[in-house]
């Protein structure tokens, strides 16, 4: 029996169970006295990434169920048929052309947790508090990109309980 039996897509359900199971495997390792703080922090980092993946997948599934093509479409102004009217200098030109508001449909493989969270918040399917908390999970998850970090980040137990509490809320939300 799956921990995500409310998810209809069997591939997604299996992937969720596999990710959840890996989290359950790593938790005792992050608590074991056989490992030092550095290793425990690394286990926690992996757990955060997996938990964020579960949250993202569940919310993405929700977006698929609840959002229409209109929700996937954004509009932006684009300049076409550009004509140079006057050259001020080598770095400055006065131009003319058609300025058209064009629809752009989001591609599924380009959608990320920030976009998913915003779409659900915009549709009032995620409240303000949960929106903020999901975004905090996203930021914690994105800390994996440490190229710009100025200090060595240590992941602690409270980080884990925080992401788990958000995951629990999200699992409740997607079952409504």
């Amino acid at each position: 029996m799956s921990h995500f039996n409310y998810v209809g897509n069997s591939t997604l359900r299996n992937n969720l169970d596999i990710a959840f199971d890996h989290i359950l495997t790593l938790i005792p390792f992050s608590e074991s006295n056989d490992y030092g703080q550095l290793e425990k922090s690394s286990f926690r980092k992996t757990i955060i990434i997996y938990t964020a993946s579960i949250i993202e997948a569940l919310l993405f599934n929700r977006v698929n169920e609840k959002c229409t093509k209109d929700d996937w479409t954004s509009y932006k102004w684009e300049l076409e048929n550009i004509r140079e009217l006057y050259k001020v200098d080598d770095q400055h030109k006065i131009i003319g052309g058609d300025y058209i508001l064009k629809p752009s449909v989001l591609k599924l493989d380009k959608i990320n947790l920030a976009i998913i969270n915003k779409m659900l918040h915009d549709k009032k399917l995620v409240d303000d508090d949960l929106f903020e908390r999901i975004d905090k999970v996203r930021l914690l998850r994105n800390d994996q990109h440490f190229g710009t970090h100025r200090v060595i980040k240590e992941y602690v137990k409270t980080d884990l309980e925080f992401v788990f509490s958000v995951a629990k809320e999200v699992t409740k939300l997607v079952q409504i």
């Binding site: 169970d17 959840f20 199971d21 989290i23 495997t25 938790i27 005792p28 056989d34 137990k157 699992t171």
Partner: protein
């Protein structure tokens, strides 16, 4: 760590549950997790302060 995930006789992935014994995790991964082997995973998580995760586990 073992390379294969736990599967049942029909090859289906078997997820850990609330009542999975810590001993079976220790045996699977060859580690000593410093608690009684018959401790249930759900109770272990609660005791360690992961009540949200424990609540997400099916019985």
């Amino acid at each position: 760590m073992t390379k294969t995930r736990t599967k049942n006789s029909s090859g289906q992935f078997v997820a850990k549950r609330y009542d999975t014994k810590i001993g079976s995790i220790e045996k699977q991964y060859g580690v000593n997790l410093g608690v009684r082997s018959d401790t249930k995973l759900g109770n272990y998580l609660k005791d360690k302060g992961y009540s949200s995760l424990s609540e997400m586990l099916k019985p």
